[in-house]
């Protein structure tokens, strides 16, 4: 029989008070650890997911919106930019500075996953995710067949406002790893994308795209993307009107630009920033900007969570202190049996520590469950995956700090117990 057993029995003797006190600590710990985990995951995910990207060229507007839409595949596309911008960046004039360009045309979706129309440039070794080139990027199948001549033909018809004929064979798709896994799709299956990113409008003509390959899992937003050929995108009747409003030129949503180095990147940035018809967004800069905005909100939430935790710890003091009046006799009995003042002090502090530790553990587990529950919401809203949030030393530190703070919270009632007048409290109650 140890003093610790006595502490546990005492807490069991007051189940409601003990449970409520521990739960209030749990709430505080849950908030603090959830916010810390989300903070960490945001920084980790946004950093990792944008690794390898350099510049995004798009229509004039918010550069952050452009980066979020093009790299993270969240939010709305800021608008359209002329296809000629791609030809320009791929041309002789920029050859010294631009190594690689990947055009994106967005606006469709398949069962909640975004459809991105592009060229085979997305399967190049210069495109960062998944690593490798061509078939190396695939877990099954391979790249879709891309015919530049077909695209040129489609663009020509678009410019001349002539309806594009359907091309059954050209409707090919490549799936991100998560799309294939979640929807149970594989090479050879057909999909029928719908118009709009919410996926609630069917195209007027029911066309199917044949899946040619499934990309390797990257843990990035690429896993949640369906890639289709750009010319097949333009052949959808609703998209053939997707031209620049004034010039009538075929349009794109964005161009991912991979410069030849730091100096080349600076040149591209400087020159494109002078242009009024389009904008260029520096991916790392925009992510840094996003992190600073998110960071300020995080700080506010974190301070609020700390306050909740602080109030919960005061709750431990109040709960134990209030119980001391009815426990003075119990303390006196312990002393009469030979328990020293220090042992009594330790027992009361131990009680507070147990409440804080139990509450802390419940809060920690609740935070993990909360993160799992919020995974889908965060994935759709911000492209974040919290399915496997890392266990970090920081969270262990929160638990240790809460237990230590619990010990401090127990010291006031423990001091009262320490000073209990043994003789006076052993006397029969009148």
């Amino acid at each position: 029989m140890s003093l610790f057993t006595y502490v546990l029995r005492g807490l069991k003797q007051r189940p409601l008070s003990s449970a409520l006190t521990a739960l209030s600590v749990a709430l505080g710990v849950m908030l603090v650890t959830s916010i810390l985990a989300v903070q960490h995951e945001v920084e980790r995910s946004y950093g990792r997911q944008s690794a390898g990207y350099s510049l995004v060229v798009g229509p004039a507007g918010s550069p952050l919106e452009l980066v979020l839409n093009s790299v993270y595949h969240v939010g709305m596309s800021p608008g359209l930019l002329p296809f000629s911008a791609l030809r320009e960046l791929e041309g002789k004039e920029w050859e010294r500075f631009v190594r690689h360009c990947v055009p994106y045309a967005v606006g469709d979706s398949y069962r909640g996953y975004r459809v991105v129309a592009t060229t085979d440039a997305v399967f190049s070794e210069h495109f960062p995710q998944p690593a490798g080139a061509g078939k190396e990027k695939f877990s099954a199948g391979g790249p879709f067949e891309f015919d530049a001549k077909k695209l040129d033909y489609a663009l020509d018809l678009l410019r001349r406002k002539i309806p594009l004929p359907p091309d059954e064979a050209g409707r090919q798709a490549v799936l991100g790893a998560e799309v294939a896994q979640q929807l149970g799709l594989g090479v050879g299956d057909d999909i029928e994308p719908t118009h709009g990113i919410e996926g609630d409008h069917r195209h007027s003509a029911r066309h199917r795209w044949r899946i040619k390959g499934v990309l390797k899992s990257t843990g990035t937003p690429i896993d949640r993307v369906v890639f289709i050929t750009l010319d097949s995108f333009y052949r959808i009747p609703e998209h053939s009107g997707g031209r620049m409003p004034v010039t009538g030129e075929p349009a794109l949503s964005a161009i991912l630009v991979f410069p030849r180095g730091g100096y080349a990147k600076a040149v591209v940035l400087t020159n494109l920033r002078k242009r009024g018809d389009l904008q260029v967004a520096d991916v790392p800069t925009e992510i840094g900007r996003l992190m600073s905005i998110v960071g300020n909100v995080d700080k506010l939430f974190f301070i609020m969570a700390i306050l909740v935790l602080f109030v919960a710890l005061i709750g431990i003091t109040v709960a134990i202190y209030n119980s001391m009046n009815e426990r003075r006799r119990e303390i006196a009995i312990l002393r009469a049996l030979g328990a020293g003042r220090r042992a009594v002090f330790a027992a009361i502090v131990g009680e507070a520590v147990v409440l804080a530790a139990v509450g802390g553990l419940i809060g920690f587990i609740a935070a993990r469950l909360l993160l799992l529950g919020a995974d889908r919401i965060l994935r759709e809203a911000a492209g974040l995956s919290l399915q496997r949030p890392e266990f970090r030393f920081q969270e262990l530190l929160v638990l240790l700090v809460v237990v230590a703070a619990g010990a401090v919270a127990g010291m006031i009632p423990a001091w009262k117990a320490y000073r209990t007048d043994v003789a006076a409290n052993l006397a029969p109650l009148s």
Binding site: M1, R335, G340
Partner: protein, 230 residues
């Protein structure tokens, strides 16, 4: 081992300076090892104060009584006046058993745990100690109620647990403060008989204070608080 109790020139006051009021003034009080004494006195005569002084729960006045005689308080062969508070706590756990009028059992612990915690304060945590506690509860007729908490025991059963707890560390001295005051006549006699029997078996001395004449009549040595006090 010396006498169970050897007290000389003991004084206990409350208040300070001119406000001080002498509660107990005891020129001499002795009890041999393994012996019994019944101390009688009315309410407020200082019986409980005497027991708390013997137990080291209260501290006597430091200054000498009138005449310059030095206070002496040896209990179970230990000069308790020379012990620090922490030493007294340890000594109390190992040397004394205390039975209270209101039993003073720890309500959050079972009957057995009430004995085990007393043993743990005396540094006895072995399996043998646990077996002894179980055996003792069996001896007081509570062998089937060892896991029951005090709140679910009858008054008589609670006092039996309290007696077993006082004896469990085989103390040199058992102090009993009106141990039967809350019991009816039938239970009073059986509980008192049980207490005396177990105290005798464990070789302890017994100092029992009461105001009950029926109990007083059962002891060979009876001391009155008024006669003990100066």
């Amino acid at each position: 081992m010396g006498a169970a109790i050897d007290i000389q020139h003991l004084r206990f006051s409350r208040g300070r300076g001119s406000q001080a009021r002498v509660i107990l003034d005891l020129p001499r009080f002795e009890l041999a090892s393994g012996a019994e004494v019944c101390v009688v006195g009315g309410s407020g005569s200082g019986k409980t104060t005497l027991l708390n002084l013997i137990a080291g729960i209260l501290r006597p006045d430091r200054r000498s009584v009138a005449g310059g005689a030095t206070p002496v308080m040896c209990v179970g062969g230990t000069d308790t006046l020379g012990l620090s508070e922490a030493q007294r706590d340890r000594w109390r756990a190992q040397t004394l058993g205390y039975v209270f009028q209101t039993f003073n059992l720890l309500q959050s612990l079972s009957a057995l745990e009430n004995l085990l915690i007393a043993q743990s304060f005396a540094g006895q945590n072995s399996d043998a100690a646990r077996a002894h506690a179980l055996d003792l509860l069996g001896r007081v007729g509570l062998g089937r109620l060892v896991d029951v908490k005090p709140g679910r025991l009858s008054v008589g059963e609670q006092q039996r647990v309290a007696i077993a707890r006082a004896i469990v560390n085989r103390p040199a001295l058992v102090l009993a403060d009106e141990p039967t005051a809350n019991l009816d006549d039938e239970h009073r006699d059986s509980v008192l008989a049980l207490l005396r029997e177990l105290v005798k078996e464990s070789g302890s001395a017994l100092c029992l204070v009461t105001h009950d004449a029926a109990i007083k009549a059962q002891f060979d040595r009876v001391e009155s608080m008024s006669e003990l006090s100066a």
